[in-house]
């Protein structure tokens, strides 16, 4: 049983790692809590459902088109809605509530098109899974863990080393100064939206192929991601890893000892405890506005 819990923790932690990374890439440059990401995660999963089950594309074509479509959706939202608000220097609170409104529209659009009930993409084939040290893990989950970790490392390397990544970091630390140095704020922002949304879309697909899809799946996933980002500290990769592990361990232990229904609540209990005792997160980097 213990090894099964460990396996479950690793599965959950790798997923949180990917989502927190996708969220923090957008937060890094745009500096607000973008709830629309939750809608994009759900949309990616439903695009996969549309292409794979309803139209009948093959697997790889489904994956590529869903990710591209979902990522472009993120970019379109930025162009239509956030661009103007960012131009007039709107408060991060205003952007936050805007994104909440867009998320509500997205979620209900999904409900209108595909219905409210849960659906499954991989119907029919239920496998026992591979046994590792006494714990069972399906091939899909194994792929999910590897994909998440590879993408996490890849995106971290991209941000730390590539030209665009360096521009992102410049904008993140001081937008005005980087503008003076001739960095094109808008295109870098669009780039970070594209990467962030694409990573979120991958997370959505991984969950979709593993457990199934509901219109609200993105919201729950993104909230875990936000909790990880806050307890880990923004802009710190090790913080994100620690945060994902802490959250996954706490959720799986509470599911084992109490009931799986408390999993969402424990995430917030951890968040609240962190804000009381360690308001700067693991990394100790100062979050904007956390204290006056």
């Amino acid at each position: 049983m213990l090894s099964q819990i460990v396996v479950n923790i690793i599965i959950a932690a790798s997923l949180y790692l990917l989502i927190s990374k996708s969220f923090s890439i957008v937060f890094f440059t745009a500096k607000f809590f973008d709830i629309t990401q939750a809608g994009i995660i759900s949309f990616a999963a439903y695009f996969a459902f549309l292409f794979y089950k309803q139209i009948g594309f093959d697997f790889w074509l489904t994956v590529i088109t869903s990710i591209l479509l979902a990522a472009s959706l993120g970019v379109i939202v930025e162009i239509i809605f956030y661009k103007y608000l960012q131009k007039v220097n709107a408060d991060s609170l205003v952007l936050f509530i805007t994104s909440l409104g867009i998320y509500i529209v997205f979620q209900n659009a999904i409900s209108l098109i595909w219905g409210n009930s849960a659906r499954s993409i991989n119907a029919g084939e239920i496998k026992v899974g591979n046994e590792i040290f006494g714990g069972y893990i399906t091939t899909t989950q194994l792929i999910a863990i590897c994909t998440s970790i590879v993408l996490f490392i890849g995106s971290s390397l991209f941000i730390n080393n590539s030209r665009t990544g360096k521009k992102m970091r410049a904008i993140s630390s001081n937008a005005k100064l980087s503008y003076i140095f001739g960095i094109d704020y808008k295109s870098v922002l669009l780039c970070s939206y594209f990467i962030g949304s694409a990573l979120g879309a991958v997370a959505g697909l991984l969950v979709a192929f593993d457990t199934g899809i509901t219109p609200t799946m993105g919201f729950n996933l993104l909230l875990s991601g936000i909790v990880v980002v806050i307890i880990g500290g923004i802009g710190s990769d090790w913080g994100l890893i620690g945060g994902s592990l802490l959250l996954a361990i706490a959720q799986n232990l509470i599911a084992y000892y109490l009931s799986s229904q408390w999993m969402n609540a424990i995430a917030y209990v951890i968040l609240i405890l962190f804000l009381i005792w360690k308001p700067l997160g693991f990394s100790g980097k100062r979050l904007k506005k956390i204290e006056i």
């Binding site: 607000f32 809590f33 809605f81 103007y84 608000l85 007039v88 709107a90 408060d91 991060s92 609170l93 205003v94 952007l95 936050f96 509530i97 805007t98 909440l100 409104g101 867009i102 998320y103 509500i104 529209v105 979620q107 209900n108 659009a109 409900s111 209108l112 409210n116 909230l223 936000i226 909790v227 806050i230 009931s259 229904q261 408390w262 969402n264 609540a265 995430a267 917030y268 209990v269 968040l271 609240i272 804000l275 009381i276 308001p279 979050l287 506005k289 956390i290 204290e291 006056i292």
Partner: protein
């Protein structure tokens, strides 16, 4: 006719909910997504007390407000370590925790089964079992809540709230107790949120956790924002419009579940639209001008 009365009662409940949130979110800029949680706490307190112990409305109402208020003090002490978007995230967390407790504490709340058989509301032997009498009672309570909120917002305390929502540090420098003003504002808002909860529990006579979800909190916040943040009458009108809208959509022949989704899409778009209007921040120049007149 019964149907119209039912809609009116629901509207009045939401008027109370949104006006109490107007005090917290509008006047003191503490945008809370935990409002439905406190609404639920009011409903559950009265349901448990009246079903298990047979206590009358006039006893359960103050107890529900007190429970809600005490929890609000604890919550605000935690949540007020943060401001703005972090505050919203914390209240969102508190909402999720409150929902989990309602949904999972089987021995107290019966979990997803909910509590049924809540007795009819009685005051001094008069049973409010007809819709029209319940409507009148709700109207009276709404008027009382409105009266209190209006007087609070017009009082010197209301001006402190207004000042701190514009510039917290400056208000502090004037020697005003910003932190305690925020705690009081949050607590009062959530205490008033318990009243519609109590009424709702007696009116429907059955409650389950799905009435007090995060979607409900977002909906109440949307009412407040669409109503104009610092506008009690605005919230009342927005509440009426947003409740009547899906009914109107079903009336013109739209299926029920589609109408529910359409309502949410409309208020989502309305939120986005209002944010474009508020893009310079919630403190508009107009408002300050009106105050000076």
């Amino acid at each position: 006719m019964e149907y119209v009365l039912h809609i009116l009662i629901i509207i009045l409940l939401y008027v109370m909910l949104s006006q109490s949130l107007t005090l917290t979110a509008g006047y003191s800029n503490l945008i809370s997504l935990a409002h439905a949680g406190f609404y639920g706490i009011g409903a559950y307190t009265t349901a448990i007390l009246s079903v298990n112990y047979g206590l009358p409305f006039l006893v359960t109402l103050p107890i529900a407000m007190l429970v809600s208020g005490m929890l609000a003090v604890i919550v605000s002490v935690i949540a007020l370590r943060t401001v703005d978007d972090y505050f919203i995230i914390i209240t969102l967390g508190i909402q999720v925790v409150a929902f989990s407790i309602m949904n999972n504490w089987m021995s107290l709340t019966h979990g997803p089964l909910g509590i049924s058989g809540i007795p009819t509301l009685t005051i001094f032997g008069f049973a409010f079992n007809s819709k029209i009498s319940f409507l009148i009672l709700t109207l009276v309570l709404t008027a009382i809540v409105y009266y209190f909120l209006r007087n609070i917002t017009k009082s010197p305390f209301g001006r402190i709230l207004l000042a701190l929502s514009e510039d917290e540090i400056f208000t502090k420098s004037l020697g005003k107790k910003v932190y305690s003003a925020k705690v009081i504002s949050f607590t009062l808002g959530e205490m008033f949120a318990a009243i519609p909860g109590v009424l709702y529990a007696h009116y429907i006579s059955y409650i389950d956790p799905t009435s007090f979800t995060i979607e409900e909190s977002i909906f109440i916040l949307a009412i407040v924002i669409i109503g104009g943040m610092k506008n009690l009458w605005g919230s009342a009108i927005a509440a009426a419009v947003l409740i009547i809208l899906p009914q109107a959509l079903t009336f013109i022949g739209m299926p029920n579940n589609i109408a529910a989704n359409m309502r949410q899409i409309i208020y989502g778009l309305a939120l986005v639209f209002m944010m474009f209007k508020y893009s310079k921040g919630f403190v508009s120049k107009n408002y300050v001008g009106q105050e000076n007149k």
